[in-house]
């Protein structure tokens, strides 16, 4: 049970964990009081570590936040919405040898990633084409990141801090596959219907 405040690049997150009691609300008020300059003109994102946020809790928090000069709330996220919280870019071309994309989020490539090209994402990598180059998903350490491709035949793939290389003798298959971490190893599975996760 806690309220954690963090400054992000363009906004401030107020992260609520578990049940909120009057003590933590008081704590929040105190923090706002002490760090007026930090909060001023703040754009605030409320994150709640649960599927539903009780109205009275939200009300109390908003009450506390309303003490801030010129503050605005840009969003309220619960566990059910955090899946779509991340940002993604869509690259609508083939990445050729020597070209690279790196992005602090998910990367979707509509085209191929040729050998010698690289894609680095803090989130997932989805290639709607052949992945023959290097892909590094969860580059900032997110071990739950996945790499998906219609034809997954990269030289090497990396997820977070785990590296896997292609077997020396590759068999010819052209079915959609997903790479993910399981027990500290990268495993590759053929894609079965019913969602990536």
């Amino acid at each position: 049970m806690s309220i954690v405040i963090r400054g992000e690049k363009n906004y401030i997150t107020v992260k609520i964990d578990g049940e909120v009691d009057s003590e933590s609300i008081e704590g929040l008020k105190l923090q706002i009081e002490r760090n007026k300059a930090f909060f001023r003109d703040g754009k605030i994102l409320i994150k709640y570590a649960g599927k539903k946020i009780p109205c009275n809790v939200l009300g109390e928090i908003i009450n506390a936040l309303s003490e801030i000069e010129n503050a605005s709330i840009i969003g309220i996220l619960t566990e059910t919405t955090t899946q779509s919280e991340g940002n993604a870019i869509i690259v609508k071309r083939t990445l050729r040898s020597g070209q690279s994309i790196s992005y602090a989020g998910d990367v979707v490539i509509v085209g191929d990633v040729n050998a010698g090209a690289e894609v680095i994402a803090e989130g997932d990598i989805i290639v709607l084409g052949s992945l023959r180059g290097l892909a590094h998903a969860g580059a900032m350490g997110d071990r739950s990141a996945i790499i998906y491709a219609l034809d997954l035949s990269p030289v090497q793939i990396r997820i977070a801090d785990v590296i896997a290389r292609a077997p020396d003798h590759t068999q010819n298959k052209s079915v959609p596959e997903i790479a993910r971490i399981k027990d500290n190893n990268i495993i590759i599975e053929t894609f079965s219907h019913g969602g990536i996760r």
């Binding site: 083939t94 990445l95 050729r96 040898s97 020597g98 070209q99 191929d112 040729n114 050998a115 010698g116 090209a117 023959r132």
Partner: protein, 264 residues
Amino acid sequence: MGKVIVITSGKGGVGKTTAVANIGTALASMEQKVVLIDADIGLRNLDVVLGLENRIVYDIVDVVEGRAKLKQALIRDKRFPSLYLLPAAQTRDKEAVSPEDMVRLCNNLKEEFDFIIIDSPAGIERGFKNAVTPADMAIVVTTPEVSAVRDADRVIGLLEAMEKSESKLIINRVRGKLVDRGDMLSVEDVLEILSIDLIGVIPEDEHIIISTNRGEPIVSNNSAPAGKSFTDIARRILGEDVPMNMYTEKEDLFTRFKRFLKWR
């Protein structure tokens, strides 16, 4: 106004110079006024392949640095009067010419010639930039080898970044037997990776070696399969719709039957 075509590859030894000499000669034989520019300063070859080495007086660096007029440096081919060569300097390096110099040079040549074909050096540095910057169209040469295809892919990416919209592909030195056995990348395999328009497939042909050493372009030899393919490419550049020979040697039932009859 003429059209500037650069022939490039990334990897060396895949047949850029041979392609320039032969496509240029073929276009000249079709009554086009053609000038070939050797942009491989310091490692000039095009003059040798054309058999014009002994006629060089001035070169491209002399023109750029103002020691010679453009007209003085152009060498007329000994067989085709509408074919000219602007040779590279051998004693200088790529830094002697800038991309802006090349654009200026090509703009002058465009007024008089139908086609300006630039022979790009291998690599992706200054020499490549010199050769590619003035071009209206790029022809990328590759062979069916993984390393050459990788370099071609890199070069196509660079061409895209330089907004050269018209890029075509030549696949050189295809050996039908190896492809059929599955020991060589097929034309389809290469196209799947590079995904650009194909403008010609050249079969492996030992006539090329002979013609290169003699300094006589192979398109003048009617019996050489590679010569025929280069002529077809020239016709495609002129807008003709020429059917593409993929050079696989897989026999259909009919040819197998014919062979069977012959054998008996």
